[in-house]
């Protein structure tokens, strides 16, 4: 694929900052705006940007389809699993108090785990949708 030099260099320059911002939105979601959903969409946007600039093959090398498609159910499992662990410990479904001796700290950990599940599902679903549409267009 022959593409504009400015586009390619510009994308390369911007990519690490997009990734950093996605991670910031994910892990700073407890303190500022953002959370799993927004971070997931931003990281999916990163893969889409790579795909637009460098071609689908490069994007598939970074995020292979098999990995992306496994991540879709994995995120839901992380979320539901966080709840089921609470059940196994004799509490209610999605009761996060068990994750630490201090219930409030346990809730913070539970929220972190749940947000990670949302991130995994949203990022992979958006990427998989993009792949599906682009593949179809070929």
């Amino acid at each position: 694929m022959t593409l504009d030099l400015i586009l390619r260099i510009g994308t390369k320059l911007v990519l690490p900052f997009i990734l950093l911002f996605a991670l910031y939105v994910q892990f700073h979601g407890d303190y500022g705006p953002g959370g799993g959903f927004q971070a997931g969409v931003i990281s999916a946007g990163m893969v889409i940007l790579v795909s637009i600039t460098f071609g689908l093959e490069t994007a598939l090398r970074i995020a292979p389809r098999s990995l992306v498609e496994r991540m879709i159910p994995l995120g839901v499992l992380i979320y539901a699993g966080t709840g089921v662990v609470g059940q196994l410990m004799g509490r209610n479904f999605l009761d996060y108090s068990i994750y630490s001796s201090d219930p409030a700290q346990g809730h913070a950990i539970g929220i972190f785990l749940v947000e990670a599940g949302v991130l995994v599902t949203v990022a992979s679903t958006m990427t998989a949708l993009f792949y599906a549409f682009v593949e179809r267009g070929r």
Partner: protein
């Protein structure tokens, strides 16, 4: 007010546009304006979602869809006077409904007097998470967010099955004709 006027202008432009490419770009602009409106209303989390999903990902996916289909909207077969009347009546009812809403930012509105006060008072003590929005989303309303994640999961699987399924059948037919 300026933002709402721009929203209205973009909506009219979308309606008058017959090239679907233009419509997609204009809907991206619409989403971005909507995100700005949400920031003005102090709903930063929602604004972030609107900007990334509405302006970013959905514009790209709609453009990818345009690649698959014809890019000009077809002329309507006939005028729908009844549909116009129903749409106008529904719009009038909705506007009439907003007249009874309490003014924006009223502290004693019904929506603020139920559980919101408790969330604001107790979130930091109960969850050690300063962002109340995150705490409500992932903890107090954890069931709803689990359902939401499951909806995204289901939607993704559904779209993938639809797009892939027909492709495989197409290949199957090709193989048959080759035989």
């Amino acid at each position: 007010m300026v933002l709402l006027t721009m929203l209205a202008v973009v909506t009219v432009a979308i309606l008058r546009q017959r090239s679907l490419f233009g419509v997609v770009v204009l809907s991206g602009i619409y989403s971005f304006l909507m995100a700005s409106v949400l920031i003005v209303l102090d709903a930063v989390d929602v604004a972030m979602t609107e900007a990334s999903v509405g302006t970013g990902v959905s514009t790209v996916i709609l453009l990818a869809t345009l690649h698959l289909i014809k890019t000009t909207e077809m002329r309507p077969v006939r005028r729908h006077a009844l549909a116009l009347a129903v749409a106008a009546a529904t719009g009038a009812v909705l506007v009439w409904g907003t007249l009874l809403l309490p003014p924006f930012g009223t502290a004693d509105a019904v929506i603020h007097s139920h559980v919101a006060a408790r969330y604001i008072a107790d979130t930091v003590r109960e969850t050690k998470v300063p962002n109340v929005v995150t705490a409500v989303l992932a903890d107090y309303r954890g069931y709803d967010t689990l359902g939401e994640t499951a909806v995204i999961f289901t939607a993704g699987i559904g779209v993938m099955l639809l797009l892939r399924g027909t492709q495989r059948r197409g290949n199957g037919n090709q193989e048959k004709t080759q035989l």
